[in-house]
Symmetry: C2
């Protein structure tokens, strides 16, 4: 029996006389907001009001009543998560100390728990002060940052997309577990063999019991019942267990999104003793995973192979979806994972500076075919693993999390940390040290995983592989010379990474989100409040630098928001097109980052309120199964079609070229063969044959050696835009192309009509559009739209009211 | 006797039938402009019209008459400079080939020259094609750029501040030299000992003569006659020479600007034979120079010591003052060197990508006490010194230039090249190669200098010294992580270079210059024409990035020009204040760059038309002998006084603090002792005692670890401005300080009155000004002015008419 201790609690700052109403799961920050004692930290600059909390200690207290305790031989108090450093008292008993946010704590309360009224007290200590205490006690020669000492979500200390809100509290559920000793634990369902007509699965579980269980039962279903059997219960030194090899004929496999159904099976395990029954349900999928690491002309490949299929990983990095975690709900996860799926993603990386996510997350990924690259929670720092206390603490965390997560088919990789090994090399210049985290990444984790989950690959760090941790030749790579290193995003085209697990480009949040959280008077490009919502040092400067290089400067705040989103989507479009055309030399492109933890200018495609930025719409297009991509090189215009389909297909390709006045200069329709899981050149023609050249020349400044010189170009090219449409199986895949950076083009605003009918916006362009922005009070189906004449665009409004449709050009100082 | 062949010539493209009027000294480009066949290359994008010339060959022809040739035993044709690859014919004779722009060519024309009419023909070959030819002939495994093959000013191939105009022509004078064999050559005046009461000078000269000269005479004067003596004429294997050790009592030394008079002596050397007299005048100065390179706690010092005085080098880098060299006049040099002197500079670096300058340059530097750091002409490339032809060509150049320049006291250092050794290490990753230029810098040059000029230090490259060529620990350093590397200029404060021979920050040219060369319709921030006048790749982006980080965005073209200049001057002010306060850990600060070669957005402080940018006015202030510099650290406001005076002084310091509404919060007047050639802390007070704090707090976003957090600051600081005035010997030295980046301040536009009286603008501020801009049609005495209330500012207008005086804040999108 479980008795929840969630719900209403009391809390106070240690030393204060006044108890306030608190909630579990929850945290001090959330409680104070709910009480109205602190305002929304996300509005304006309110974040700063939360800084002082981090130096304080808090006490949470709950009185509760229990009865008939003598019916249960086993009485446990379970904390699913405490954030972070805390002492726990039940009645007059000290139960112990918590010091790891990522760990489940269980206390035997057979003695401490009483019939009737009980008082549970949790004292939470300032993580800042605790870190300082540890520093003093352990006296390392290394200057570890405060956050490295505490096993707590690292992003809460402030990140370059997140506020500094050091959450403190009982952030997950608490309950009493009362029973008579029978428990199923450590359940693990391993696929041992998988082919089209047969899966062999090994079901393992340990059984805690005071007596030998009478019998076990395993029932496999996926809606319909598949199999039911009665496994033997064995005994070993460690106790009772079941271990059953099960054959499933004609199994339905779990496929990543885009490759088939993400089929799931439920395994129900039951055991009973003379007086007790225990059951456990595990939902999992049947799939194989390996990383193809083979030497080739470029170095060594890094390709995820799922069920024997090479999969180009398309997706993004995932960060915690709120800076105040306990207010996240299952619906938040459903919505976000669904959006990832709708954007044709097949992989998310749970980044090491956040948390091992809620079950909701992995369940949704299981269901939606979203592969998960799972980091262990270390990021961008050195860690004190020279000390055994730290390693022991982490070992418990790893064991707990691996057992918790190993049955999720979505997880395809364990990864030791985020960027720490890169940091050893390039940031801290300490080579490849024995400690500082490496003991964990290189020794502890491989050992634990060998024992607890040998079914998935383990990767030491992200990035890692090759001679240099961030090599283009092997392993994965984080491409940050662009954006962080200020490099122009045209250079994505030179990135030959084997797998790009991070690359990204910032933009403002959705305009409505910006306006909701930035007070009207502060809605200017350089207001201090706006700049409090841009967490990267010199982030605003970078936004403006890239605007200046590609488009121009915004004329006001709204324009700033729109242009930032346009540039972001163009940068990522360029990158992803390049990476996908380079498949499988490059075998994955996960942009930084899918989501936000608060309203902020960041690299995300979906903002904190789950509103879509321009990049979100672009992701959908650029990650789609078939991608027609246009390029212009050495005087030839080419269309390449990237296919992630596992069978070869045919399609209808339509190429049209227009000038910005709406004159059509070229049209070609052709049937194309699209080889499976490959890239094919579908169109290749000399520019002279496309009727766009005018013989009138113009000079645009271009780099030549160390200088910028006038580069002679036919004016016709700067006045042209190419559209491509590919129809496969009745579905249309579109793309567009211009012959230079927008700032060099002879752009003209699009002339168009639109009408709204049946919750649809029907758009009829008379001249080509590079970017039309629909201003509406809700999330419309598509936005930041490129569009060609002769086509009618129907955009579902999803109930939103349209205020205006405008051309991006109107946003610019001209 | 010299017979000039300058003046009117004929020229044509090789293959063309039409001869056109040309000029010597001159070049094809200038001739075509003068003929109206090509427009001003500096206007609009006209530069592009000049590109095609570089692939063509040209022929220059002159007919001239000579008489009485038989009077002269020696008949030479002298070219002071040919640019660059040329074959030379006199009448039916082929005289030879020129292939080095930096060399004087002399041909014996005893045979070729006729009585009466002569025809001299110079065929100039495309430097591009010649480089390609050499590439093919020599077949190196290294891919040298075209420009590396040809001994021609490297900047003419296009630089990040200069257009690509490959000047071709007879760029310096030509003359016939007719005499009977007596010549004084290789004159060299060496100071062998120098003290207050005695200079010992060795005068050396070689004498070409068919017979033993009868006698010599040396006359030393500096207005007044100092000494006259008759040296012996010696004979050695190489021929006749004089070598005379001369004592000058109570010599007047040559001092750098700011350290005393740049006193010059003229040495007139005469020799005669039975039938001929030859004389030579050398103007030189008496001074010693060495670089103090001593190990210290930071590494190794790099301090110029002149006449026993440690001199902090203040100045800038010098580039050719025109992309079309032959139109430069002595007056251009006089004006520019005078401006450098007026800006309190004491050193210019003649950068290796330009030319060994005209005599005018060194004469003016001699006269004005401007020390010259003289590079040899190699820049930012690898050079084919694996081939003897290249080394031999260079050797002649080096010998010629060293002999030509070694008597100039202004030159204090020979330097092998610009940035090539840095490039070996960091750009081309080729370590420290044997060739690629290193043969010249490390073997050839030291040997030649040992022989021809052992009186000055030689430095292998700029930058060079220490373990890394661009080390902060030894040698000189080019600080380019700021600007080129996009780093914020606040980081100048962390640069502990021993000598900063390059650092810089761009801005637009003077507004009138911009408007003169950019057509009205193109006067927008992103027009293609404007961007043709910004030669650095992503230069505009950088300008805007720093504006965005410090000030805000410009509202229009004029504002863009003004703000760019303001940011430039603030960046360099910050840097120079830091470097000077760091003296002699840092012993020099030469910003990139003094001047321009065309109208351009560049790092210069003086634009092509010699108009002053904001940085010019700032240079004057920040390089002045006494610099009061304000800083705020750890809650204390400090004033440090940097003195470059060689004697200790006293001064009157006035510190006032105001808010932007014009209220005075603090005033302190004090007498200060200013130790000689040092930095002294003149004022140091806790901010609490300065009456500026309000106890009202505001949060500004500041970097903390990996994120930006709200940084709590007293609003009073953001509303305050500090002014300091130091009076020494009746001269006032001013400075100002604000407590954060301008974008974080609570700035208000200055309220002021002004009147114009007697060609003076009299300015009376009622509230403090950070930057007042005087718009006028000429160069006023001061501009981009900070100003405090209670003071009247008198600015000489030098005849200019004032249109408006405005506050910089009015330039911003607010």
């Amino acid at each position: 029996m479980k008795i929840s201790l969630d719900g209403k609690w009391k809390f106070r700052e240690v030393g204060s006389l006044e108890y306030l109403d608190g909630t579990v799961p929850g945290c001090v920050q959330l409680d104070l907001i709910n009480l109205g004692r602190l305002p929304d930290p996300f509005y304006s600059s309110n974040e700063v009001l939360f800084y002082s909390l981090e130096e304080k200690d808090f006490e949470y207290v709950k009185e509760f009543y229990v009865e008939n305790l003598d019916r249960y031989q086993v009485r446990k108090l379970v904390f699913e998560g405490i954030d972070t450093v805390a002492d726990i008292y039940l009645n007059q008993y000290y139960l112990g100390r918590a010091e790891n946010m990522f760990l489940k704590y269980e206390f035997d309360v057979s003695t401490a728990l009483k019939e009737g009224k009980n008082t549970l007290k949790v004292i939470l200590y300032s993580p800042i002060k605790e870190a300082e205490r540890l520093k003093k006690v352990y006296q390392s020669k290394y200057d570890y940052p405060q956050r490295s000492w505490i096993r707590k979500a690292q992003y809460s200390y402030g990140w370059d997309w997140g506020p500094r809100i050091l959450q403190m509290g009982i952030w997950r559920s608490i309950y009493l577990e009362l029973h008579n000793g029978l428990e199923i634990v450590d359940e693990f369902i391993k696929t041992e063999h998988l082919s089209e007509d047969l899966a062999v699965v090994k079901v393992f579980a340990r059984i805690n019991s005071f007596e030998k269980p009478e019998s076990g039962e395993i029932e496999i279903s996926d809606g319909a019942e598949i199999k039911r059997l009665e496994p033997q219960v064995y005994k070993s030194k460690e106790g009772y267990f079941i271990e059953e090899r099960i054959e499933i004929e004609n199994p339905k496999l779990w496929f990543p999104n885009g490759y088939g159904e993400a089929h799931l099976y439920t395994f129900k395990i039951a055991v009973k003793t003379s007086n007790e029954v225990a059951t456990k349900e595990v939902t999992t999928g049947l799939r194989t995973v390996r990383i193809i690491k083979e030497k080739d002309e470029y170095g060594e490949s890094f390709i995820f192979e799922i069920n024997g299929i090479k999969v180009f990983a398309k997706g993004a990095n995932w960060i915690p979806a709120d800076s105040i975690l306990p207010r996240l709900t299952e619906n938040d996860y459903k919505a976000l994972i669904n959006m990832a799926k709708d954007a044709n993603m097949n992989m998310l990386r749970v980044w090491g500076g956040g948390i091992y996510e809620y079950d909701w997350f992995y369940n949704e990924c299981d269901r939606n075919g979203i592969m998960v690259w799972q980091d262990f929670m270390f990021a961008c720092s050195i860690y004190p693993d020279e000390f055994d206390f730290f390693v022991e603490n982490f070992k418990k965390e790893a064991e707990y999390q691996i057992k918790r997560l190993r049955n999720h088919p979505c997880i395809v990789l364990w990864c030791g940390n985020n960027e720490n090994n890169w940091g050893f090399r390039d940031w801290w210049n300490i080579g490849d040290p024995e400690f500082l985290g490496n003991r964990i990444y290189k020794k502890v984790l491989p050992q634990i995983l060998l024992e607890l989950d040998p079914t998935r690959p383990y990767h030491i760090s992200s990035p890692y592989g090759g001679e240099h941790p961030n090599s283009e030749k092997a392993g994965d790579r984080h491409t940050w010379d662009i954006w962080s290193g200020w490099k122009d995003f045209i250079y994505y085209k030179h990135d030959n990474a084997r797998f790009v697990s991070e690359f990204g480009f910032q933009a403002a949040a959705h305009i409505d989100t910006m306006k909701k959280y930035i007070p009207l008077k502060d809605q200017t490009i350089f207001s201090k409040v706006l700049r409090m919502h841009e967490k990267q040092d010199e982030g605003i400067e970078r936004l403006i630098r890239y605007m200046a290089g590609w488009v121009g400067l915004p004329k006001d705040f709204d324009s700033f928001v729109y242009i930032s989103q346009f540039v972001q989507k163009e940068a990522i479009k360029l990158a992803v097109e390049h990476y996908r055309k380079n498949k499988f030399r490059t075998a994955g492109a996960l942009y930084w980052q899918l989501n936000d933890c608060w309203p902020v200018i960041s690299w995300s495609s979906i903002d904190y309120l789950k509103r879509r930025k321009a990049l979100y719409y672009e992701s959908k297009r650029v990650f789609s199964k078939f991608l027609p991509a246009i390029e212009y090189e050495n005087g030839r215009l080419k269309v390449k079609v990237v296919s992630d389909d596992i069978t070869s297909r045919t399609g209808e390709l339509l190429i049209t070229i227009w000038d910005f006045d709406g004159r059509k200069h070229f049209e070609r329709a052709l049937k194309v063969n699209i080889p499976a899981n490959d890239v094919t050149l579908a169109f290749d023609e000399k520019i002279e044959n496309l009727n766009v050249l005018k013989g009138e020349y113009i000079y645009i400044p271009k780099q030549f050696e160390a200088t910028m010189i006038g580069h002679r170009v036919d004016r016709g090219l700067l006045e042209s835009i190419v559209f491509v449409s590919l129809i496969v199986d009745g579905r249309e895949y579109e793309n567009y192309f211009v012959f230079d950076k927008f700032i060099n083009l002879e752009l003209k605003p699009c002339q168009f009509e639109y009408e709204i009918k049946d919750d649809m916006l029907i758009l009829r362009p008379r001249t080509p559009a590079v970017c039309l922005i629909i201003e509406a009070d809700g999330d419309v189906e598509n936005n930041f739209i490129f569009a060609r004449p002769e086509k009618e665009y129907k955009i579902a409004l999803n109930g939103a009211n349209v205020t205006e449709v405008c051309d991006l050009l109107e946003c610019l100082i001209r």
